[in-house]
């Protein structure tokens, strides 16, 4: 690990000032379950690490009920994934989110990993993690395309990025309509969570849209207001593993009819993937097994397999179908 300076600010303002605007010079540290490994492997080599634990107001779930906003939940970015999984207010409103938080990694990781860290963790791409860069290019050519891409993207994979966005929570939070609060030297701004992520076009670009020096301070969830939320993760191992494909859905229903649907895929694209085709297909229709299966087909209609990840198209298709079935409370076919 490269030697670094540790800064422990007490306020957001101090934190942002200490962080500066050059990502090569300084980085924020929350739980550290991702950053420390990256630093040990010299994937990240910041000269200064700005530790956020002492910064006030970044922990906990707060229910906000005013005349203007009816019961939003504001979740501090430094809330641990374990606390999130056990939060009564969040569980009451969005049981699917607390349940998903409880499935992240294993207990040791959940005890230190934070919500902000889960959303902003770096991709798990094994080329990236073995030091070949986020886009894993050599002589201007992607190693992923000719190499072992069994876990890589099937959507949004026109290149040069082929990694997948790994957050367990992002697809569900996006489906729930989450916004994030970002704080930087210019002050605070709000952003829909799905707009936080972007597909980098060149090495050196990041996979998110944080401005230099900005920190994520909060995630804000609107009231569930009767929407039905669910996710389905296809996992090979039961614990300590990332899912191979995830689908998160949110349904606004009028009886059995879907009035509005959000279908977000995880682990299949360099960003949490909004399956617009599936959302459109579901709108105005009665949700049954057949429609759920069709929505699964629609979600992967534009998917393109690399040399070794064709199976992930099937996994994404099934994840969408099963998430919809779960959200609608239908019984699994044949169960």
């Amino acid at each position: 690990m490269q030697p670094f300076e540790l800064a422990s600010p007490k306020t957001r303002e101090q934190a942002v000032r200490l962080r500066g605007t050059d990502p090569a010079q300084a980085t924020f540290l929350a739980g550290g379950s991702d950053l420390l490994g990256l630093m040990k492997d010299r994937i990240e080599t910041p000269g200064r690490v700005v530790y956020l634990k002492g910064v006030g107001g970044l922990v906990g779930v707060r229910s906000e009920k005013t005349e203007k906003s009816g019961g939003r939940l504001r979740i501090g970015a430094l809330t641990t994934v374990d606390d999130l999984s056990a939060d009564a207010a969040l569980g009451f409103e969005y049981a699917a989110i607390t349940a998903a938080a409880g499935r992240v990694a294993g207990p040791q990781i959940r005890n230190v990993a934070t919500l902000g860290g889960n959303l902003l963790q770096r991709p798990r791409c094994w080329y990236f993690r073995n030091g070949f860069g986020l886009l894993a290019q050599r002589d201007g050519k992607s190693m992923v395309v000719d190499g072992d891409n069994r876990y890589h993207a099937i959507l949004g994979n026109e290149g040069p990025a082929y990694f997948v966005q790994p957050s367990t929570l992002a697809p569900l939070l996006i489906a729930a309509g989450a916004q994030v609060v970002l704080f930087g030297s210019q002050g605070e701004r709000w952003l829909d969570l799905e707009r936080l992520y972007r597909i980098p076009k060149a090495e050196g670009e990041r996979e998110h849209d944080l401005r230099p020096g900005e920190m994520l301070t909060e995630v804000v969830l609107p009231p569930a207001a009767g929407r039905k939320l669910a996710s389905y993760e296809v996992r090979q191992r039961q614990t300590l593993d990332w899912s191979l494909a995830t689908a998160a859905v949110s349904l606004e229903m009028d009886g059995a009819k879907v009035t509005r649907a959000r279908v977000i895929l995880g682990q299949v694209a360099p960003v949490p993937w909004v399956a617009t085709e599936a959302e459109e297909l579901l709108k105005g229709k009665t949700l049954d097994h057949d429609l759920a299966a069709k929505a699964g087909e629609a979600a992967v209609a534009k998917a393109k397999a690399l040399s070794q990840n064709k199976y992930k198209i099937q996994l994404a298709r099934v994840a969408v179908k099963r998430a919809l079935i779960a959200a609608a409370g239908l019984t699994e076919e044949g169960a």
């Binding site: 798990r124 094994w126 993690r129 073995n130 039961q238 099937q314 996994l315 044949g334 169960a335």
Partner: protein
């Protein structure tokens, strides 16, 4: 002349009981110090710069900047300019410094220029290798005529990738020079006695001057018999620096260069009569194990089909050499053979259990053992009640199936010497230069010694893991328990002979009238007439009494050849390809069991390791860079406790088993999980998944190839 024997069941007070390992509390509490934990006074940290390329020539190398760094005490060029590197992460430069961070900094200051050469590591396309070492074809009987005459036959291609050992304690050692040519080495090794000679040879010093110590050891599985280049370099760095140096591999190096199990692929044709009797076998197999050989799996495994042909080829690749991996060659032989035999049973329309039983007559000396074990396994799994023909016809997307496999292993006790000393306080101590890899060796020796001397467990002490004790073999091939039990038993019996000789006149009888039991030396026919151990020892003045024992020797204390049966019950989600283990049953024999609990633990451990390898493990080599991509426990997928299902272990004991003496059991139980699980998957989904691991990708690929993939909800 002492007559060596194991006591009859009625005379055993500890042997065969279920006894917790003696070092369990020390390990669970952290008091047990492994090589990795030790920090001798003044110790430096050793690290190695490794070549990032799978095949390259070192053009130039400059260590001057590293040598000048404060805190850097030694720098050694391991492979210099002109050297051709044959695999990624091979050793280039070693350094020793006052901190880990400094050692790492020093490595970064070394400048190396490589000429990168073409590499080949493509496991998926081994046939594209630049070179293939074809083995000789072995032919028995007339396979062509027999195949032509076979009433039912199948043909299939099956395979498994390389998997890593992944010892929790990485390879490594601490070296300290105590004089110009005297060395202390704390090593994570499977061969305490053997390593002294290897150090001596590598360093040009007398073997008697090398003192190797391994108090506790964090797993080896066959990968830790060698001093390795990093061991010799550690000693040389320590000499250069004039201080002890610790050099342990990091996880990336451990997974990449510290050995693996070779891959294996095979094309097999096998034929039988309509009643299931095997008549013909024809196969070719190929495998990669690094630059050299890739083992030679026994194919066909166990079933010696009367007419058979087989040929095995090794494909050299640019990856670090394979090493013995728990039951070397057997998991590959079993997986290739039993995948094909299970497909044949399906083609015959036979229950695989009946098919196996039908052909037991060609399994050799263990036929009776297999027959008994298949019966026990059937009972524990409920096989006959629950088995269904291939393809679970029950409704739903999750299909359930059963699979079975059998296995064998040698396990005869290795060469071993043991010295037993009884101190005047009556405590008996065994000294033996063996090592406890975590298997329970320490506990087993204590049980044999205490049982033999009629003492309680706390009346004995076991000293091992030190090359200055009487030599004992390396812990490989499941040879340790038979070796150390036999040498300890003989030493104990020799000791008793000496004691009885002296005690007999005191008790007014002859030596043959005496026995050691319940903490006393007593007259067999009059147990009330006895001497305490202290009283007996007093007859020798204040001098301890010592005796030695060796293996091999007279008396049948160990033998070779164990059999095991495993059955798997799995569920497969046919939409996602996710395989889950519901239950595994293992029935295993290993002759006379010294400690039922640690023997069972070996079987549990073997099953878990085998399940993990079958379910999710794969050492992934990148065709583009030639590097291993699975360099940590995130990418290298080991099964967790939630993945292994319910495990049931039954050891075969009693008449027919005990009289074979003590036989090792470390390796055999790791052989069968792969074929048993893959056969269970085929039974569940009706389609063979021919390649391990049984990942969603492999399962969905197989379903798609068979045209039965469930893509749409069936209405």
């Amino acid at each position: 002349m002492v007559d060596y024997f194991w006591p009859e069941a009625k005379d055993r007070h500890l042997i065969g009981q279920r006894i917790s390992r003696l070092d369990g509390p020390a390990k669970a509490s952290g008091r047990a110090k492994y090589t990795y934990d030790l920090l001798p006074q003044g110790m430096l940290w050793g690290k190695i710069l490794r070549c990032p390329h799978a095949h390259a020539k070192i053009k130039s190398l400059d260590v001057s900047a590293a040598e000048k760094m404060p805190g850097v005490k030694a720098v050694r060029v391991i492979q210099g300019p002109g050297t051709e590197i044959q695999w990624a992460l091979d050793e280039v430069v070693g350094v020793a410094a006052t901190s880990e961070a400094l050692a790492e900094e020093a490595l970064r200051a070394v400048k190396v220029e490589y000429e990168v050469l073409p590499h080949f590591v493509n496991e998926a396309n081994l046939e594209k290798a630049p070179k293939v070492d074809a083995g000789a074809e072995e032919v028995v009987g007339d396979p062509d005529a027999a195949m032509a005459a076979a009433e039912v036959k199948i043909k299939g291609t099956y395979g498994m990738p390389p998997v890593a050992h992944n010892c929790m304690e990485a390879h490594g050692q601490i070296c300290e020079w105590t004089g110009p040519d005297t060395l202390n080495a704390w090593c994570s090794t499977q061969a305490v006695a053997g390593l002294a000679g290897q150090f001596a040879e590598g360093l040009g010093i007398p073997a008697a001057n090398v003192h190797v110590v391994t108090d506790y050891m964090g797993g080896g599985y066959g990968s830790k018999f060698s001093v390795d280049r990093w061991g010799i370099e550690c000693a040389k760095l320590a000499k250069l620096a004039g201080a002890p140096v610790k050099l342990m591999l990091d996880r990336r190096a451990e997974i990449t260069v510290a050995g693996d199990r070779p891959s294996a692929y095979g094309e097999i044709e096998v034929g039988a009569k309509k009643d299931g009797t095997l008549v013909a076998w024809s196969s070719k197999s190929w495998a990669s194990g690094g630059p050299g050989g890739a083992g030679n799996p026994p194919i066909p495994y166990i079933f010696q089909v009367p007419n058979r042909r087989h040929k095995h080829s090794s494909v050299p690749t640019n990856r670090a050499s394979a090493r013995a991996w728990r039951a070397p060659n057997h998991p590959q032989g079993a997986f290739l053979t039993f995948s094909a035999l299970d497909d044949l049973a399906a083609a015959l329309g036979m229950n695989p259990l009946d098919f196996f039983i039908q052909n037991l007559s060609i399994t050799g000396q263990l036929e009776k053992v297999y027959r008994e074990e298949l019966q026990v396994a059937d009972d524990l799994m409920g096989w006959r009640q629950r088995w269904h023909p291939r393809g679970d016809s029950a409704k739903g997307l999750v299909k359930r199936g059963l699979g079975l496999s059998i296995h064998t292993w040698g396990g005869r006790g290795h060469r071993s010497n043991c010295e037993v000393t009884v101190h005047p306080d009556g405590i008996a101590e065994a000294k033996i230069a063996t090592q406890d890899l975590g298997t329970g060796t320490r506990t087993v020796i204590a049980i044999v010694l205490a049982d033999s001397l009629g003492l309680p467990l706390d009346g004995v002490k076991v000293s091992l893991g030190d090359s200055r004790y009487p030599a004992s073999g390396g812990s490989g091939g499941s040879t340790t328990v038979g070796g150390v039990s036999s040498s300890t038993r003989r030493a104990a019996q020799n000791l008793l002979a000496t004691l009885f000789e002296k005690a007999a006149p005191e008790l007014g009888v002859t030596a043959k009238d005496l026995e050691a039991a319940e903490g006393k030396i007593r007259v067999k026919s009059e147990p009330g007439k006895s001497l305490s151990w202290r009283q007996a020892l007093a007859l020798f003045g204040q001098t301890p009494v010592t005796a030695t024992g060796a293996n091999p020797g007279t008396g049948d204390l160990t033998s070779s050849g164990v059999g095991g049966v495993q059955m798997a019950d799995v569920s497969v989600d046919v939409e996602t390809g996710v395989v889950r283990v519901n239950k595994m049953v293992a029935v295993q024999d290993c002759g006379l069991i010294v400690d039922l609990k640690t023997a069972e633990s070996q079987v549990y451990g073997g099953m878990i390791m085998g399940i993990s390898a079958a379910l999710s493990e794969e050492k992934v080599l990148d065709p583009v860079t030639g590097q291993v991509l699975t360099t940590d426990f995130e990418a290298y997928k080991m099964a967790g406790i939630a993945d292994v299902g319910e495990l049931v272990v039954r050891m075969m004991t009693g008449p027919g088993y005990d009289e074979r003496g003590v036989i090792g059991v470390g390796e055999p139980p790791v052989v069968s999980p792969g074929p048993a699980m893959a056969n269970a998957v085929a039974n569940a989904i009706g389609v063979r998944v021919p390649f391990l691991p049984l990942s969603p990708r492999r399962v969905l690929d197989a379903l798609e190839a068979a045209g039965t993939a469930v893509k749409k909800e069936t209405v």
